[in-house]
Point group: C2
Chain length 332, copies 2
């Protein structure tokens, strides 16, 4: 075969590979930040089983849906959920416009720097801050505020920008799944408007593939300009049993693979893995108090208790950060 024809043929084959949702794994290791322990082997075996041409259990590309929790699964969630940190920073920035906050629960604690006093208010205090600090903003204003914060804020203990508090092994996993014809979705208890500002750049997941908790919105024409205004009421909580509901409502078909880290993901993994044919469920277990954090059954954030028991009973894959990951955070 002449050289030019050989080159053209190689190009053709490369293009065929690029076009196909069935592209086989490349020779280079697609998961270099994973140790060669059981979880990596289970992932690769599953992906090859559902996507390798000739496999008896091949799943059509349209049904290769993979869903990922965000907090504690794709990025860290300590010392507090990053969206809560954003809201706290917003409260401080907005406080001069709201003198009444100085004497109103739970804002008074925050403005006095009393984090323990604030956290004593539990979920209710958190919800109040999330709702009231964002209510009345248009979706465009909110997105701009999140983008500013993501670009400038630093994590309080590592000093890293938040997009570098993501897990390198999970970023590789997202790429690996997509290279094998999967469509990847986030299904998180976090706010959908918050996550969508960075999910595309950070995870390669476009806004329409991000599912999360939602506040109510109101359509309103302001000075002739159509706007969507954020209201303080909850429209939908995408957590626990809300996750299968969110999946059905937004995606409309059952995923074949689900990835989480806490009891809030239990029903999502249960719903995903109960479907017919090959299914995959995976929990990230935070076991590394040197490189990240170590917590599970008794944690106030990312509690992993009932989901752990169900994972053991049903044979879901459990990843030990300490033992199964070569690297935790991205290098640069």
């Amino acid at each position: 075969m002449g050289r030019l024809r050989g080159v053209t043929l190689a190009l053709t084959l490369a293009l065929l590979a690029g076009c196909s949702g069935d592209r086989a794994a490349t020779v280079a290791d697609p998961l270099p930040s994973w140790n060669d322990t059981a979880p990596k082997k289970a992932i690769v075996a599953f992906v090859e089983r559902v996507s390798k041409p000739g496999s008896a259990d091949l799943v059509p590309p349209a049904d290769r849906i993979a869903v990922f929790d965000n907090d504690g699964t794709l990025w860290a969630e300590r010392p507090i959920y990053f969206q809560l940190q954003f809201a706290l920073d917003q409260v401080k920035a907005l406080a001069p416009k709201h003198p009444e906050w100085k004497t109103r629960e739970p804002f008074n604690h925050l403005l006095a720097g009393d984090m323990d006093g604030f956290l004593a208010g539990g979920e209710k205090a958190v919800a109040a801050v999330l709702a009231l600090s964002h209510a009345g903003m248009t979706t465009d204003e909110f997105a701009a505020a999140v983008r500013d914060w993501i670009a400038t804020a630093k994590h309080p203990t590592t000093g890293r920008p938040y997009p570098r508090m993501t897990y390198q092994p999970m970023l590789e996993l997202l790429d690996y799944l997509r290279a094998n014809g999967f469509k990847t979705f986030i299904v998180s208890g976090g706010g959908v408007e918050f996550m969508r500002t960075f999910a595309e750049e950070t995870y390669g997941i476009p806004p329409e593939q991000v599912i999360g908790s939602q506040g109510k919105l109101r359509y309103e024409v302001r000075d002739g300009q159509p706007t969507l205004v954020k209201l303080p009421d909850i429209q939908f909580m995408d957590d626990g049993p809300g996750k299968p509901v969110g999946i059905q409502t937004f995606i409309g078909r059952r995923p074949i693979a689900a990835f989480g880290n806490s009891d809030g993901d239990r029903e999502m993994l249960e719903w995903t893995t109960a479907g017919r044919g090959p299914r995959f469920g995976l929990l990230v277990h935070h076991t590394d108090d040197v490189r990240e954090w170590a917590y599970d059954r008794d944690s106030h954030v990312g509690k992993l208790d009932k989901a752990w028991d169900e994972a053991v009973a049903k044979g879901w894959t459990i990843v030990s950060m300490k033992d199964d990951w070569k690297t935790v955070f991205p290098g640069k």
Copy 2:
């Protein structure tokens, strides 16, 4: 150039074209069921403006989002919404299990064959039938019932199966947009679980790109099997000002093109066309009482009044079915 190399090169080019979201329109007319009148010219001019390589107003493929109403825009909506017809058929099928319906409004009218009596109950009667006839079913059971109905039911006046009550020119338009890198979504007041059972086969639109009104769902493990159960309560109404809200909630970015036919689509077109850069709004006007139906300002279904005025004021494209479409329904 040798023949084999020429063939390989042609194949390479074909593959390149197939890979690219920027593929130029083919030489063959992509909209053969449209007359060469103003609406077709406006559509082609817009699509070339945003997608033709070298255009000053090129829009990145990720932002080429087009949203379509369903009832009256992609398929007919007379004499009654097709989903309502499905629900009525369900009521009749389920009636033997519900003897109490014989004396309960609005079911009593339906079971007595008194359609006028039923319709006198207005939206409330319709909502009651939609909610109660579906509540308690799992999403899998509901989808199976819709699939059965879609496969067998015939339209009362044309005798066509419902998937052939779609508009041929709009099917061509969907294909044309997708061939030029657009991602097409349905944004309809119809039920999301109803539309998703046929949207992929009928319109080439996958479930995750169908947005509609939703009932609440409950996650429940029945006899060890995880299920999602339909509840009688409304979760979200995707109509009127709900359409921009639905777009923001499900897609998370503003479309550049919107297609509707009634006042229920007004805010969707308003929101879409108010964005920066090239935008396109189109209304289908039902003007053909021979091949389809003719109705607008005074119709009880698909009322086109305020949206018409706004279309005229803002220069949205208005399609007259009678004058601008060569064919209405698919030929076979």
